[in-house]
Symmetry: C2
């Protein structure tokens, strides 16, 4: 059977209506709304065809039709009209994203918040995985008798610090030497490569021999490695979880519970996100591999930090969603993030 022009129009109308109302739509209503001069009976015939082709479903015999996942897929791929965001909205988003200009993670979190606010869905943002990020320097600074701060800075400007509590005291001058030695040894190394045992052992031996600080090292080294590991971790921000309560599809305690319990498993969701390709990716209902997500649609897009490290941003909601709007929005926001996180480096010393 062929998807005639008219069938497409009918399908489109059903999708539009259903996305708006969440109610199955019948032939009579559709005939009135469609204004094509065809009677409900004709529409019924067309709808029966569309159902046979797999674009429509029936909740029960005497109910109207609802679009299937296949219909949404068709919609997203060919039917959907794309509109750029209205200029006011663009500037509003830009302003709010720039409020936390110099805190990368805050900006990313804000992006998720904004996204959920605008779409009224659940939005999330994954901070970039900085795998091949090189270490710039390591600094050890005294806090009090038994604590020092370990500060690590990478070439990309990522900074991490940990307060390390030591079992023994330390000597401040030696701390400075140690900082320099560590920096000298590790500078330019990729964070992930430092975890390898032989490199660590070598440095450890060098330093211990040089300054007779072996007692100190015992406390310090494990913490140092843990901090590095932590720097490789990504962070997942999730916003608007309770928005699902306002979505008719989830007007059912069990469904809402299921959804929330799944989203609470951040590790698992992060993995799902990690496995998605770059660019704007849309998976609709059954297209999702995870069982619990088979009645959701997931839209993700990627942004870049310094044109290099890839983070993700997106939305999860019922398959019935305003794909056109959400896609435009997600695209706009990731583009914007990528721009914000681009090192300009064009201004130079002045004062």
């Amino acid at each position: 059977m062929e998807l005639t022009e008219r069938k497409l129009k009918i399908l489109q109308a059903i999708i539009d209506d259903f996305v708006f109302s969440a109610e199955p739509i019948g032939s009579r209503t559709l005939s009135k709304k469609l204004d094509l001069g065809i009677s409900p009976a004709t529409i019924r015939n067309e709808m029966a065809d569309l159902e046979e082709m797999g674009y429509l479903t029936h909740p029960h015999t005497s109910a109207g039709r609802t679009p299937s996942d296949k219909a949404y897929r068709l919609y997203v791929d060919t039917l959907m009209e794309r509109h750029p965001l209205p200029v006011e909205e663009q500037t509003a988003i830009r302003t709010r994203l720039n409020e936390n200009f110099n805190e990368l993670n805050k900006t990313i979190e804000k992006a998720a918040t904004l996204l959920s606010e605008i779409t009224n869905l659940t939005a999330f943002a994954l901070t970039p995985k900085e795998d091949n990020n090189q270490l710039k320097y390591i600094n050890l600074l005294p806090v009090d008798k038994t604590s020092v701060v370990l500060m690590i800075v990478t070439e990309s400007g990522k900074v991490s610090n940990t307060v390390i509590r030591l079992r023994s005291g330390y000597d401040q001058r030696k701390l400075e030497i140690l900082s320099k030695m560590l920096t000298y040894n590790y500078r330019g190394r990729e964070l992930s490569s430092i975890q390898t045992i032989d490199l660590v052992k070598k440095v450890e031996a060098d330093i211990a021999a040089l300054s007779a600080m072996s007692g100190f090292m015992e406390n310090f080294m494990p913490e140092f490695l843990r901090t590095l590991e932590k720097m490789l971790d990504t962070e997942l921000y999730m916003e608007g979880l309770t928005n699902i309560f306002d979505i008719p599809e989830y007007n059912d305690l069990d469904k809402a519970r299921m959804f929330l319990k799944m989203m609470k498993q951040k590790d698992r969701f992060t993995e799902v996100l990690d496995n998605r390709a770059d660019g704007v990716i849309i998976t609709i209902g059954e297209e999702n591999t995870d069982e619990e997500m088979k009645d959701c649609s997931l839209i993700t897009a990627t942004y870049r930090v310094n044109g290099k490290f890839i983070g993700k941003l997106g939305v999860i909601g019922p398959t019935r969603m305003k794909y056109d709007e959400v896609i435009s929005l997600v695209e706009f926001m990731t583009d914007n993030l990528s721009n914000t996180f681009q090192i300009t480096g064009d201004t130079d010393s002045e004062e």
Copy 2:
């Protein structure tokens, strides 16, 4: 009317049963369970008395009785037997709390996680408010052409850093001088006092005059103040939110939604917590001042960091909860946190 021994026994039995089953309990069941050799009829009379006194309620005429808030209050104040935590549980908790020994906030977050896991309720932890915390030193470190790291350390060992992106470049040597000047000027000041304008203005003027860095200062000062402000903020961790789905009282979409939406308002909840006195505080149902919490019970306890800064830890759940267990647990955990966060300072320099 008087609360006779027998009335107390009956009340206790009703509470015990209801806490366990969440079902109203009738005279016949109670008579069998109670084993006092009194008939259902007698129990009915006693229950009628207890209801008149305000300790019991009736969901409807032909239902059993349920304890009122007043009954729980009596239970907590006088009826409840306190048992110390079993030793295995104590050690298990201690071990898990110490897993993140040197990250204060992680330990606190873990405490909330544990608390929610053990009680199957929603648990939360508030990091201490370090109001009168004195500044120890300020360090500015270069990252790249247009970014510097601002690092602030307080006397209590709290460390905060921000990457500040500057509109103009800077001179590394001057950065060092600036660090020293800022430290010299602010050391020993309380964080909150630094926000006052005149002090800031004075320092700003001094530095600008001294090193002709006014261009730099324009970018730097607002960020510096923001970072300080951020250091005064507390963090609220909340765990086990979805546990409410397993509680019969919330087997109702509207109630669950209400609860979750309320708990999402972290600012508001933080304020509620801030207003609570020190030590273990229990507020039951109507005793809570917030409208949305009038069918919940809130149990909070305080812990101390360095014997000084006060943080809070607690649980929120239905009024029907195992008060004895939860209270013991919360108490044990806060005691433990206070110990963990006590500076020992007894070991001295060695190597």
